[in-house]
């Protein structure tokens, strides 16, 4: 555990002490804020709840954010050759993968967390608002954390499969986009195919939770998906010892 904590700390330091990280955060928060204001202006009566508008605003930029954060996790280490030296130190593959994953997740969570402040900033600047729906807010951010966790694990696995950051970025972006466009695709195809696609639709899950509808199916999907991606990442890393 101590080794994991040390490596996690190293990852966090890598993220939070770099100017690129703060630039990424600033750009993400600016574009998300702009998207939120835009959706507010388009939210004609009767309209969607504010928690849903926040979910839409964050979701729109999530594939890019996850791609930026995960594309270099292993690809950069492999390109520079530091992965081999990392594997020679007495740490297990699980510890390496989990430390990288926890570092990336922590960074994305810190980046997204300020968007919850929108609901408190609006009344502060004089907007007349209905009472705060804490249940929907918590449900929305909980599923967002699970989706981010799943997408980050996918990005990490893809980063492990290539040594080229550009290839990693393109592959990661495509993979992360798939769950976010599945809702639209599911509406365009007839049942029962639409039911299967809707089961995988991250955008639909996010909107449902943001309305306050907590469902165990997306929780099972993202937890199992995250564990699968991390398990595969460990196996891929492990197989490098034998090549």
């Amino acid at each position: 555990m101590r080794k994991f904590l040390v490596m996690w700390q190293k990852e966090l330091t890598g993220h939070f002490l770099s100017s690129t990280a703060y630039l990424t955060m600033c750009v993400f928060l600016a574009v998300t804020g702009w998207t939120f204001v835009w959706t507010l202006s388009k939210n004609e009566a009767p309209g969607d709840p504010l928690t849903v508008l926040i979910a839409i605003s964050v979701t729109m930029w999530m594939p890019i954010v996850i791609t930026v954060v995960t594309m270099g996790l292993f690809a950069e280490e492999k390109r520079s050759g530091t992965l081999e030296s990392l594997l020679t130190v007495p740490v297990t593959e699980w510890q390496v993968v989990m430390a990288k994953y926890a570092g990336a997740m922590s960074f994305v969570v810190v980046m997204v967390a300020p968007t919850a402040g929108y609901l408190f900033i609006l009344p502060a600047v004089g907007v007349q608002m209905p009472s705060l729906d804490l249940g929907s807010l918590l449900a929305g951010y909980s599923i967002l954390a699970l989706i981010v966790g799943f997408c980050t694990a996918m990005g990490l696995l893809i980063s492990l499969l290539t040594r080229n950051q550009v290839v990693s970025a393109i592959a990661c972006f495509c993979a992360v986009c798939i769950p976010f466009v599945m809702g639209g695709v599911s509406r365009a195809v007839p049942q029962p195919a639409s039911d299967v696609l809707a089961y995988l639709a991250a955008d639909e899950h996010l909107l449902a939770f943001a309305r306050g509808m907590v469902d165990t199916r997306p929780i099972v999907l993202y937890v199992s998906g995250t564990m699968l991606a991390l398990f595969l990442a460990v196996r891929v890393l492990e197989s490098r010892r034998w090549t």
Partner: protein, 500 residues
């Protein structure tokens, strides 16, 4: 020989190394495949056995206890076809509500198998054809609920109460409408309504643009009602399987014997809907008067008439199950006759303890009058003989109902509407107001098609914020500039700290 031995040893070790790689690779691949299979299985189980909770403050789509209890009682396969485009303004409400139905049915104590199909009329042409072949339904924006061969259609207009002028939705009736439709489908046999013929009545099988009744007949049949023709004189009576009679716009008088047959049918707790036009002696005047409603030989004129003709809208309704959902709706009448409840409620009930209960269903405005003998003096108001509005143009009568009970048992019911054009093809083609809803409500009331009591309509949720340009500027400044600026400031602080 000495040289060959080390070579052989190298090849052997290379072979051992390759075998080890192969075994390891196969091991890793097997573990990965097993992990994928395990994750798939977990998700398949998770998709079948799941739980949902509504943690929102308003619990807007949460099922009422009445619906949950009802779903606990029904059995067998129930199908709901949602014929809506996903872009339709009602789709979201319906999807969320039907998700709740699906979940409640899945966890119901009974063995109900609720199957919900979403049919996009623009894309899912195969299923639209299936609907047409099976139920004769080609329209969009409706729900088709079916149990075996019985079906019931819920129109989009039934789901919401809207302000007539702005068309703004104010109440959502989704749960009460769907639950009531399910209740009727699962509990009732297909009711039989006989449409009387032989006296110039409106013909439900006629497609005539002006006089035909084909449009309303199709809607009636679509609502799981069996509509059959009946020539009373030929049958010598009302068939035993008749649940109600439809007498729509006779132009010739019924004989006394025929009127007597109808009267006897009503006496045996029969149900009749009369649509009677002005200036026509139908032979039912005495019968209807005996139930407490006076049929004058008049024509109702309203100064709010459309384009100076005889058509006008009626927007005042009495308190009655037929008209309770029609508030904020307008009915179009085309020169009706008055159907005025008499001061004393019916000679029929004078000697009886169960006097008929009479309710005026639709009343004209104060700017209207009932014109007696219009041919003599034109249509203008004559204070000497004409009667000032409001004038009742539709009434409901019921005898034998025990007040205060939710369900009526063995009661005789009559609805009289002073205009047969109200659901004629011409009026329905014009898309006029709530005429169809009014007629269907009347028929459903006569047939005692129950509605589940106690399911409240929900006020349409208003989430849109009212903000002026200045407020948008402030919000934009706070969110697009303020929050990123705080993060940038933190970044600069850390950067400066590191430099030191």
């Amino acid at each position: 020989m000495d040289l060959e031995e080390p070579l052989s040893s190298t090849a052997q070790s290379r072979w051992r190394y390759r075998r080890r790689r192969l075994v390891t690779g196969a091991n890793v691949a097997t573990a990965m495949a097993l992990a994928v299979v395990l994750a798939t299985m977990i998700n398949m189980i998770g998709a079948r056995r799941f739980f949902r909770w509504d943690v929102s403050q308003e619990r807007y789509y949460a099922m009422s206890t009445n619906t949950v209890q009802f779903l606990d009682q029904i059995q067998g396969e129930v199908a709901i076809d949602v014929v809506y485009s996903p872009e339709h303004s009602s789709f979201k409400d319906l999807r969320h509500l039907l998700d709740e139905y699906s979940y409640a049915a899945r966890h119901a104590a009974s063995t109900v198998d609720l199957r919900i199909r979403y049919i996009d009329p623009d894309r899912d042409l195969g299923r639209m054809k299936e609907l047409k072949d099976r139920f004769g339904i080609e329209e969009r924006n409706l729900l088709v609920l079916s149990v075996e061969q019985r079906r019931k259609v819920v129109q989009n207009s039934e789901l919401y109460t809207v302000w007539p002028l702005t068309r703004e939705r104010i109440m959502f009736h989704g749960e009460s409408v769907i639950s009531s439709a399910l209740l009727n489908l699962t509990r009732e046999k297909t009711p039989v309504v006989y449409a009387l013929k032989g006296h110039g009545e409106r013909d439900p099988w006629s497609f005539h643009e002006r006089h035909g009744y084909s449009k309303i007949a199709r809607l009636v049949q679509r609502d799981n009602i069996d509509l059959k023709p009946l020539v009373l004189a030929a049958m010598k009576g009302v068939p035993a399987d008749a649940d109600a009679l439809l007498i729509a716009g006779p132009t010739r008088r019924y004989s006394d014997e025929e009127a007597q047959l109808i009267s006897e049918y009503i006496e045996k707790n029969g149900r009749v809907i009369f649509l009677l036009d002005p200036y026509v002696k139908t032979g039912f005047e005495a019968l209807i008067e005996s139930w407490g409603v006076r049929l004058e030989d008049d024509l109702v004129v309203d100064t709010t008439s459309l384009s100076g003709g005889r058509e006008f809208y009626v927007g005042t309704f009495g308190e009655h199950p037929v008209s309770e959902r029609l508030q904020n709706t307008l009915l179009m009448f085309s020169g009706p006759r008055s159907v005025e409840p008499a001061a004393s409620e019916g000679t029929n009930g004078v000697q009886r303890s169960d006097r008929p209960k009479i309710t005026g269903l639709a009343m004209t405005s104060k700017q209207s009058w009932a014109k007696l003998n219009p041919s003599d003096r034109g249509l203008g108001f004559d204070a000497a003989v004409d009667r000032r509005g409001p004038i009742t143009v539709a009434a409901a009568m019921e005898r034998g109902a025990a007040s205060g009970e939710a369900m009526e048992i063995d009661t005789a019911k009559i609805v009289v509407i002073g205009d047969s054009d109200i659901v004629g093809n011409a009026v329905l083609n014009s898309g006029a107001g709530g005429n169809v809803g009014f007629f269907m409500n009347a028929l459903n009331w006569l047939l005692e098609r129950e509605s589940i009591m106690g399911i409240q309509a929900r006020p349409v949720q208003m989430h849109a914020l009212t903000m002026d340009r200045e407020l948008y500027k402030r919000v934009g400044l706070a969110l697009v500039v303020g929050i990123p600026a705080v993060v940038a400031f933190l970044g600069v602080l850390i950067w400066m700290n590191r430099r030191r």
